[in-house]
Structures are given as C-alpha cells and as structure tokens.
Symmetry: C2
Subunit: 383 residues, 2 copies
C-alpha cells in the first residue's frame, strides 16, 4: 500500500540501470489530487547532498507535485555537476509529468562521491512515468532499497482519510534524523503549514530517536505530501497522531533491519529532570560501542550503562542511578542491584531502563547491538 494507500497518489518503481546489478533503483511518487501541499525535514548534516539542497528549495513553497527517488548513488559530495544533475532530474520529471520543475522533490541514496549515470536515470524517468499506478506504492518502496533486506511501508487509516508511507534505511541511522529516505502521503485536505507542524512533531519523537550507529547521513529526507483527495480536513491532533504512528512504525522497521544487528535495543530513560536530559542520556547509552558489544554477547553489563551516563551533562547523582535490563534492576543506587544472572537476554529485543532519579521526564531511544556482521558489511563494501 505504502504511498498509494492515500487517495490522489500514483507511484512506480523500476530498474533504470543505475545499479549495476539490475535491481530496481528509480521510484516516482506523484500527487494527482486537488491539493499539492507538502512539508519536508532534512538531514542536519552540514555536508548535504545535491538532492537535499534542491529539495530544501522546493519545499520552501510548501508545494510538491511529485518526488523522484533513486537508489544506487547518493549524489553527495559531487560538486556543481552533482547539483546540475539533480536539477536536470527535476526538469526531466517535470517534462514527462507535465508539472513545474520547482514542484519536483528529488531524493538520492547510495555511495557518496560518485556522479549519477544520467544516461540511465533520465530515460528511466520516462519508463517510470509510463508505469505510474494507483497500486504502485510497493514497487516504489522496493526501488529505494540499498542495503535494506526488506522494503518498509506503513499505513494508518482513519475515518475517511489515510496516512501512508515508505522508507529506506538500514545503516547510518543516527540522530538529527536516522539516515533514510521517507515519503509519506495523505489524502487529508490540509495546508502545508499544518503538514509541517505535524511532520516536525512526529519526526522529533520517532526518526530523531532512532540511533543505530551514531552516523548521520548527507541525504536524510522525510517528505509528507497531501492530495486533499478525501475531501476531509481532520482535526490537528488526530492528524498529527496518525502521522506520528506511521513515522513510529517506519522507524521501528528501520531499526529491525539495521545492518548486521542481532539485537534491537530500546533505551528508556526515566526520572530525568528535563526531556532534553533524557534524550542526551539515551543517546549516550545508545552510542556506547562497548555496551553495544556487551548486549551482542548477551551480557547485562550495567557498568557500561553507568559509564555512558557519566559522560553526559544531565542532572543526576551517581549514587542514585538505577538500571534495569529486561526487567531486572541490576543496578540500584549506583551499585550492584538484583542478581544479573536473572536477566534473560536470549531474545532479539532488549529493554534497558535508566532511571536518573532526578525528575519525571522520559525519552526512548532505539538502537542496535554492535556485531561482527556490522563490521563485515561496512568494511567489505563502499556505501
């Protein structure tokens, strides 16, 4: 269902030959409804790929007619020629779709520092436009995969309106956006300001809190397009909740597909003085390589949790910290708590609770373990 679950959208995913192995590598999502409202959130990395620089400009109008997405090349660190290629991509899509180029967002993912094969991409756009369909959402989701082992889609349907989406991402998942491309669509009848507010609120507590390996990409993009095709204007809270649910679901799918991971780790920080403290502590725990190795080895090593907390500026007293791993409070008041032998770590999901005993704020960060497979996947191939 993906991006075509909401009315007023068509999509396609094809193999344009950008990937040398012949796998699908080019997707198109087109808004065919009465509205073209849109919002976008982009990587906070200061080294931004050409398509990010382009799409940021596109989104300034709050209008997006279509999105072109390619895998097989990030078009990042490619200089003026890379930007010209993104521009040419938007121009070509505009031509084949009969829209204005300034309403065409572009997303790319793949290896940094390599120019895209425009002789494959531009003809591919004609092929993709010819394949556009109200049932094309899944094919689009497949075409944006890189090291993803599965394609990711999610849909929430409410009373007469829908929010759906697709995502790619399997590594470089980090704060300030997990590294990924995400396109969300809705047939709700809403303006771009409302979309922007709902999208930022949702990404802040979902994708921004997915931190697989602490590495932030140059290409992160999350777009939300509204077609207005349902003719329904839902209340803000209900709409924002639906967007949040789709983002949360896609974020979870990203974590579950993280490169080389054998454990999904939910780091829940409680008892924080502020939400910012909770997020800072959660990230510090989630990024601790030694802890991530210990979790991989099914070792409930709470000392490494405390060591990670200790590097933050959050409000806490070392002798009041408590840590639970899979429900067992292995650390109480900064020291040894319940018997660590009681901790059952056989399953893929691991739940760490860090209690700062300094307030009532909370935050949850999702991460993965660090494995030899992660090393192999990221040392054997450029990405």
């Amino acid at each position: 269902m993906s991006v075509t679950a909401a009315k007023g959208f068509t999509a396609a995913g094809i193999a344009a030959g950008i990937k040398e192995n012949g796998n699908p590598d080019l997707a198109l999502v087109v808004n065919t409804g009465p509205r073209r409202a849109a919002a976008g959130v982009f990587t906070s990395n200061r080294v931004k790929a050409a398509p990010v620089l382009w799409s940021e400009q596109v989104l300034k109008s709050g209008q997006v007619s279509a999105v072109v997405l390619n895998s097989g090349g990030a078009n990042a660190c490619t200089g003026p020629k890379g930007f010209q290629d993104t521009h040419a991509t938007a121009e070509k899509a505009a031509e084949v779709l009969g829209r204005g180029a300034i309403e065409i967002a572009v997303c790319s993912t793949g290896l940094i520092g390599v120019l895209l094969p425009m002789d494959k991409l531009l003809p591919g756009l004609e092929q993709a436009a010819a394949a556009l369909s109200e049932h094309g959402g899944e094919k689009a989701a497949i075409a944006i995969k890189t090291t993803d082992t599965v394609h990711k889609t999610s849909v929430v349907t409410k009373d007469g309106w829908t929010v759906g989406g697709m995502a790619k991402g399997a590594g470089m998942l980090a704060p300030g956006l997990a590294t990924m491309l995400v396109v969300l669509t809705t047939d709700a009848d809403l303006d771009d300001e409302t979309l922007d507010k709902a999208l930022r609120a949702a990404t802040k507590v979902t994708f921004d809190r997915v931190d697989s390996d602490g590495c932030m990409s140059t290409n992160d993009t999350v777009l939300l397009l509204a077609s207005g095709s349902s003719g329904i204007t839902p209340g803000y809270e209900e709409f924002a909740e639906a967007v949040r649910r789709v983002c949360d679901d896609l974020g979870q799918q990203l974590i579950r597909d993280a490169e080389g991971a054998s454990k999904d780790i939910k780091v829940e920080v409680v008892g924080a003085a502020t939400e910012d403290d909770a997020v800072e502590v959660g990230r510090s725990i989630a990024r601790n390589n030694l802890l991530k190795c210990a979790i991989h080895g099914e070792d409930p090593n709470w000392g490494r949790v405390l060591s990670a907390i200790g590097t933050t500026k959050a409000a806490f007293e070392p002798d009041r910290l408590n840590v639970a791993i899979n429900g067992v409070w292995v650390c109480k008041n900064g020291g040894v708590g319940e018997d660590r032998e009681k901790v059952d770590m056989r399953y893929r999901e691991v739940h760490i609770v860090a209690d700062l005993a300094a307030g009532s704020e909370t935050a949850t960060i999702w991460t993965n373990d660090l494995t030899a497979d992660y090393v192999h996947e990221n040392s054997a191939y450029s990405s």
Copy 2:
C-alpha cells in the same frame, strides 16, 4: 625501567590473587626521595570509581608518597563499601610503608560493579612492600595489565634528570582521557604546582587526543610524582617537553595495543579556524563507526570523512573541504579529487588529513579501526 628509571623511586609488581588466573595484579610505586611533590589528572566521567574519588582528595595536598595500583577489579559503582575498601587499601599501604594514608594514591582497573577481594589485596600489600626494588618498574608495569597484550613503559633522560612512566590501557580509550592508568615519575626537583602545569599541558595534547572507541572510563588516572633525588631543577619548558614526550610515547603504545584493532589511524585536521574546531572535527572523524569499518576494509572512503565533518559545529564550507588518505588527496573542494585507486592501505598505519580551509590551526587525534575482533573481545567477556 618504567617508574624506577628516575632516581628516588622503588616499585614492585606481584600476584596477590585478585585475578583468578593467578597473573600479576598488584603494583606499588614508592617515592623514596627528599621530595614528595605530585600532580594528578583524572577521568572527566561523572561516574567515578572509588579509587578516583580517593586519589582526587590525596592530590589536593600536592603530596604523594606512594601509589597502589591493582588490576582485576575497577572498584567502580561499588557504593560506600567500595570507598571503604579503597580507604582500607591506603591505610594498609601506609602501615606497611610507614607513611601517612593521606599521601597514598590508589588506582584500580578491571570489571565495574564488583567489590575487590580485600582478603587477597591487603596481604598482597605486605608482599608487594617486601618486593620493592629500584629495579621493580617493569614488574609494576606488568601487574597493572588487563586486556593489554604488552606492558607499556617510557623514559626520557635529560642532563642529569629523568622522566619515566608506565601505562595500562587497551580499550575504552576515549577523550577527556584515554581509559588507562598512568604513573609518571621524575627525579627532577620541582614543586607540585610546576608538576601540575606540566602534566595538564602534556595530557591535553596526548592522552586526551587518543580516542580508540569513544568510550570513557570511570577509572582514568594519570599521576606524576617527583622525588627531587637528582637535585636538579630543570627549566619549565624543558621539563614540560620531557613530560609531553613520555605521555606521547605511552599514548602511542596504548593505541597500538587497542583491543582488536588492525589499523592505527592518525587523524590530522589542518586549516581549522581554531584549535577547538580542529579537535572537534578530529574527534568526530575518529568516532565514526562507518569510517572505522571502511578503514578496516582498506577502503579510502572519504565520503564518510566528509559526513563526519558535517556533523560538527566547526567553521568550514562544504565545497572547500579537502581530504587526503595516506598522502593521496582523494577529496578536493568537497568533491572527487585524485584517483582513490592510488591509495595504498596495506600497512597498519593510516594517515587521514582533513583540511577545513578555514584557518591555520591544527590538531591530531589517534584512533583505531573497528573490527570483528573488537566486537568479539568486548562481547565475549565482561570488562
């Protein structure tokens, strides 16, 4: 030679039975000279081990008579009992050495969250005191090893005076001090304020810039003891340079012995607007897991260098960045530079130069690659 290279020091290293495998695990370093001046630098982790809390108090007087160091247990996150154990260790050492307990620094390393076997440690102190020798430096260096594959010592001898030292550390090497215990000794005749100034200046540009895995320990300690036994008071600059050289040498030995590493990576940031910018960028590059995996795979992946730079707040323009790997400028002006095929990465040492083109400040950070062996070593055993 180690801590007994300088006149006025004796040392010992013995097996007290703290480690279950029977390896040496207890070291003593005693100042026998006319002076007892000392300085110390400790972990900036807010979760500090009991011996760190104790030794910080000891150092406030600027006087240290002796240092007790144990491997086989970090005595961190051990609550009031852990602190009592450290205190009892200092009291026992004071008794057997005939010194005041408040002049006995204590250092521990090993697993967090486990109490030390005091029934082994206290008798061990008698045994260690009996073994003290002017040639005991090497045995002391051996007794503080944990996952270290080699013991680390260094000596600089100048005109009539000497600075020597020993270090342990092989993982959890991170900024704000690489995780380690270091004892430096000198027979120069200097007061504690001069020692403190020279030690802080040295650690700032050596141990603080060793960042193996971004993980900061609860037990980091660097001590510098002066016996005055040479009767010589060197000029500050000459002395500070000698201390810096010993610290630099020991820091390099730590990196070369980092857990599971197959590459030593020198990250040199040049063209920075400020030294702080250079350090921030160097650390960001040194901590990028994806880059560290790429280096392990002998892949000169400069895109990951740019991606890491982009997450910092340093002054730079993305389209002016240059990156050299092993002498080949693979990235110029933020884009593709010289042919990456020219980069020879067969050797253990890898040299990355990141030119921010924003000024003339520089800094060098040392790190390692990320390997499957690192994962194995840190997932198979608690540490």
